[in-house]
Each structure stands twice: as structure tokens, then as C-alpha cells.
């Protein structure tokens, strides 16, 4: 890790400090903070241009005129980050600049209000790395449901527990046949960095989905942030996989088949899931169903050829 400041740029590669600087306003134990640090690490000094729509990620930039980011950032309107990034990317390309253009958006901006813009940019295969840090809630506004909120979760706008399932955004993105889509967990650093680097080294539209713990919204202990999302992977709820060209699948971390105990390890320490009110059997069936789908795809449409 280098902590030298950014002085003088040449050929797009600079020694850079952390992408997210210390002294930002993210909550203690925020998953997004780690995601941003690792993103900076994976870029290996390639200074990105970052577009952030309304979300905690832009609030943590801090108040004008300062910035918590060591890369230039454009705050876009809520639904617009992929379109703003399209503009930036187009200009960068016509000026032969290879700084990666990155969208850093929450689940609200991705799954909900921004999905049309996201879909369009993906369809045009814009040269953008789109990263959704999915904390499964509107965190910036104090914790409301989004279409990324899992079934059964209590939020201020699902006071009886959410009755709908979480949207399968990865299937949606794969359906666009973009060059690369992957799920990432901050509990699996090597896998996380590898996928970021894979995305970095490709061209076209790349979509990365980070399962990002939110102690405030999940009503969990900050110190358990990493552990919780690890349990989410372990119990099969958050599969780690990648999709090449929207067609070729590969599972990168394979957990054991789900058990009530494994699921319990994940849900029991988050007060957003109310104890005793979650239908664990149903959840396990859904997890198994998801894995059946992934297994068929990974077997019938293996990414191994594509990677070779």
C-alpha cells in the first residue's frame, strides 16, 4: 500500500492513496468503505473517473469544497449515473484516455430508479465498470425497502416485513449479454480483487454486484459486518459467481448446501430479520432453487472455455 499523494500524472498510471480517504462520514463498519478501498487497490494506480448517483457513497464525499475521494467524482442525479458515465467514457475514448470510468451506486439507484438507464448503457455496451454496492436498503434516507431488500426484512416502508423476493439483478444484467458480470463479497477478498481486476482488464460494460453490509440498516454490530456477509455466502444466500458475455457462468466460491443452522448464523444477528418471523424452510428452498439454476448454467454454459 502506498500512501503518497497524487502528484503529476503521466500515462494514466499514478501512485495513488486510498480511493476513499480517511476522515469520511461513512458509518463504522460500512461495507462500502472496504469495497472502495479494494476497488482502488485493484485499479493498481489507474486513476478512475467516478460517477456516483444519490446514495451514501456521494454523501461520504463530504461537504464542498472538500472530497473524501482521491479520484475525480461526478455526483449524478439518482437515476443517471450510467448515462453520465457514458458521456465521460465517450469523451475519454475520443481523446485516447484510458482512465477507467466507474459508476459506484447503491441498490436503490441500480435496482429501482436507475434500472432503465442501467439497462440502456448495458445494451449499448458502454465502456463502463458499473459497481452496485448492494446493502439491500435505502440507507441514505434512513432505511426504506428497495427491490433489493430480501423477503421478510423489516424496514420503515415494509413495517410488516417485506413480502416480495429480492430482484435477481444478475439475471437481468446477464440478459444484456454484457462482457462481464460478477457478484462480490467483502468476506472474500481474493475473489473480490480477482473479479475487480478481471473487470478492469475487459472492455465494454461490466457489472459488479457487491453484497455490502450496513450496520445501521441491518441493525447489526459494526464489527460483525464482514462476518455477516461471509455467512451469507456460506449459507448459499449470496452466491459468488461470474457471467461472461451474459452466457458463460462460473461459480467462484461454492458453499455447502444450505442448512437452517447456516441460515440462522446469517439472519440471527441482524435485527432487520425479526427472530422467529422468518420462514427459514422457504428461504432454504429459494436458496436451493437459485443454486439449481446456477449449477445448470455453470454446467451447460461453462465459463471455463470463455476464460481460456
Amino acid at each position: 500500500m502506498s500512501t503518497s499523494t497524487i502528484e503529476g500524472q503521466s500515462d494514466g498510471v499514478t501512485q495513488c492513496e486510498h480511493l476513499l480517504r480517511a476522515g469520511n462520514t461513512n458509518c463504522a463498519g460500512c461495507g462500502m468503505s472496504l469495497g472502495l478501498l479494494w476497488l482502488g487497490e485493484a485499479l493498481d494506480g489507474h486513476m478512475p473517473l467516478v460517477v456516483i448517483p444519490a446514495c451514501c457513497g456521494i454523501v461520504t464525499a463530504g461537504a464542498f469544497p472538500t472530497t473524501s475521494y482521491s479520484a475525480p467524482v461526478a455526483a449524478s442525479t439518482f437515476a443517471s449515473s450510467p448515462a453520465v458515465a457514458t458521456g465521460l467514457s465517450a469523451v475519454a475514448e475520443m481523446n485516447q484516455e484510458d482512465n477507467p470510468v466507474i459508476c459506484w451506486a447503491g441498490d436503490g439507484g441500480t435496482y429501482d430508479i436507475g434500472i432503465a438507464t442501467l439497462s440502456a448503457a448495458a445494451e449499448r455496451n458502454e465502456n463502463i465498470i458499473y459497481i452496485c454496492y448492494d446493502n439491500e436498503i435505502y440507507g441514505n434516507t434512513g432505511g426504506q425497502r428497495s427491490s433489493a431488500t430480501p423477503e421478510g426484512v423489516f424496514t420503515t416502508t415494509s413495517p410488516a416485513g417485506k413480502s416480495e423476493r429480492k430482484k435477481d439483478i444478475m439475471a437481468i444484467m446477464a440478459a444484456h449479454r454484457i462482457p462481464y458480470a460478477a457478484t462480490l463479497s467483502i468476506a472474500h477478498r481474493d475473489d473480490f480483487l480477482r473479479k475487480l481486476r478481471t473487470a478492469r482488464d475487459k472492455q465494454g460494460f461490466r457489472f459488479l454486484l457487491i453484497h455490502s453490509p450496513c450496520p445501521t440498516g441491518w441493525k447489526s454490530e459494526p464489527e460483525e459486518s464482514v462476518e455477516l456477509v461471509r455467512h451469507a455466502v456460506d449459507c448459499g444466500l449470496f452466491p459468488l459467481y461470474e457471467v461472461h458475455d451474459g452466457r458463460r457462468y462460473r461459480v467462484t466460491i461454492r458453499p455447502d448446501p444450505p442448512t437452517p443452522e447456516a441460515v440462522d448464523k446469517y439472519v440471527s444477528r441482524q435485527r432487520r430479520f425479526r427472530h422467529g418471523m422468518l420462514d427459514t424452510d422457504k428461504l432454504i428452498r429459494q436458496i436451493e432453487d437459485q443454486w439449481r439454476y446456477l449449477d445448470v448454467m455453470a454446467r451447460e454454459f461453462s465459463a471455463d472455455d470463455a476464460i481460456r
Partner: protein, 391 residues
Amino acid sequence: MARKLVTGNFAAGHALALAGEANRRARGCAGGAYPITPQTEIIEYLRRFEFSKGRIVPVESEHSAMAVCMGASLGGARTFTASSSNGLAYMAENVFAAGFYRLPIVMVAVNRTLGPPWNIWVDQGDSLALRDAAWLQLYTDSHQDLVDTILLAFRVAEDPRVMLPTMVAMDGFVTSHTQMVVDLPEQEQVDAFLSTGCDVPHRLNVNRPTTVGGLTWPKETEHHRREIQDAMENVPAVLEEAINEFEGVFGRRPDGAIAAEHTEDAETVLVACNTMARTLRGVVAERRTAGTKIGMIKSKLFRPFPRQAFRDALSGVKRVGVLDRNHSPGSGGIFWPEIATSLSDQSDTIVQDYLVGLGGGDVTPEALDEIVEDLLQRECSGDPVWKEVAA
């Protein structure tokens, strides 16, 4: 320079494209393209045009069309798009964003009645709904005015003293789809006129990371709003400079903030914009011939509102009639209070509003003459008067 018989949309597309191409020696140009009647031909033209350094992105909505412009502008490119009516309404959030980010985007607004109900014909309610978005607004009355104003718009918007987005409006169908003869500029002329490449001071810069548009406290926000006001106040002078240079390059002089006719000795003056102002010109000329001390003003620059120009032009005038092809429900025409406020130190002047041609009906010379007659009879101003449109 080539004299051509073209539609307004063709003329607008041509002007935008040449301006974009003119930036090929700087950071290029970009824009978003999304169709809506009656604007569609403009973006078709732009998508056809072969830019040597530019990209028109076929987006999925007006909202994204403006977002692409914002991104490209933050990347330092010359940016432009076009829209109309509900497209402008849908785009609105990003129109405001572009204004408050101070990105010199140029947008052609083809005026069309906002729906519902479904109505594709001209009125100015769509662009005027965006009057507080920190954009310059210019209303054009002819194909030539349109072409020239688009080119001026880039000059003014990108001027460091202004650095604000600019909207150039024309009438839907009446201008956009009507063929008229126009002097279309050549690329070399546009290159000369726009020889200073476009860039923005807050371009995303990897050497000096900033967050553009992040959280800003009330104190700073207030300061930034005042900066925008200051920039707006610079516009008349910058526009005048631009027109002077335009004349040097193109050999003709486009109208400025306002264009006054016969106002020097006039007791009665009518104010109108877009093609309605051209119709009015004929009516006023006939009344002049008949000995009436009447004049007119073509109102072109709406934001910033050229208060001083109106004050100067209407000094000592007894009656002012404002023709508004737009309507703010519960108030009246939208130009009317702007003009009335400009004349607040002339307490004797009657400023009467006429709502005319709403929903796109023809505004005939006869109808305008009836308005003139009404105005000449007035001893005091009253509520806005609805003038029914011709069938």
C-alpha cells in the same frame, strides 16, 4: 455560405452538428439523442452526421440524453441535444442539474404543448416550465434566427464569464417542419466563430480530484446561486460581443436580447416572440402606415430577462401589450409579469397581457389586429385577456 430551402429542424441539426464538429481540435463533442415529435428530425440529423471527433449517444430517455451531455461536458467536450414538450418535462431533473453544475450544454427546445391531453402543436409552456433551471433561454422567430442563435448560444454558454447551459427555442411545426430559405453556414465559418475550444473549469481532472455536485452547506449553496446570478447578469454584454464577432465572420447581424421596431416615438408597443413576432411585424407595419404611433418588440432572450433593454425601449410608452403563447395557470402569461416588473418605475404605463395561440392554434394577422385594437382602447390594464384562436 449556401442558401438552402430547408426545414427548421434541418437548420437546427445542421447548426448543432457544425458547432460540434468545430470542437474537433479540442476535446470533441457529444450529446444524447432521443426522439419526440416535433424534434425528431434534429436528432436524426445528428445521428447521421459523421463527426471526426464526436459521438451522439442514442439513449433510452430525455433524462439520459441530458445526463450524457452532463457527463461529456464534465469530460470537457462540447455538448448538445434537443427535445420538446413532455420530453423536456421528463428531462427536467437533469436540466436543473446541468444548470446548477454550470455545464455549457446547448439544447434546442422545439416548443410543443405539454400534455396531457395529447397535443403536438406549439406553445411555449414546455421550455418556460424550465425557466428557473439556471439556463439561458433564447426564443427564435425564423430559420435564420434559429441557425444564428444556436451558434451564438455556444459562444455565450461556453464563455468563462457565463458558463451556463443555453436553450434555443423554436415553434413546433411552424418552424420545425416548415421549409424556408436560409443561409446555412460553412464549417470553416463555424470553426472561425467558435475558434476557442470548449472546456469547463471543473472538468474531472485526475490530477486534482474534486467531487462535482456533492453535499454543499447552505452558506456555500447561497454563494453558488449568487455566482449564477452574476453570470446571468454578464449575459447581455457577452451576447453583444458575440453578435459583433458573428457579424464579422458571417456578414450578417442576428437579433440581440430584444429587437425593437418603431418604438422610438411609439405610444403603443406590442411584445411577442417566435414566429408570432413575425406575423405581428406585418400588422404593426400596416397600422404605422395608417398613422398609428405603434411599435413592437421581438422578445428573444428570456433568461436572463433583459430588464434594462425593455426599460430603455419602452421608456415613455403609454400602452404595452404582451402576447403570451404560454400560460401559468392561476397567473396568466409568463412574459407579461417579467415585462411589467421591468417597467415598475413607469407607473403610468399600461401593461396588458393577451393569451394567444395556446395549444397550437394559428395566430392570424386579423387576430393580432383585433388585439391591437383592444389595446389602443385601453385606459388601464386588466386581467389577462384570452384571445380565441382561429379554427
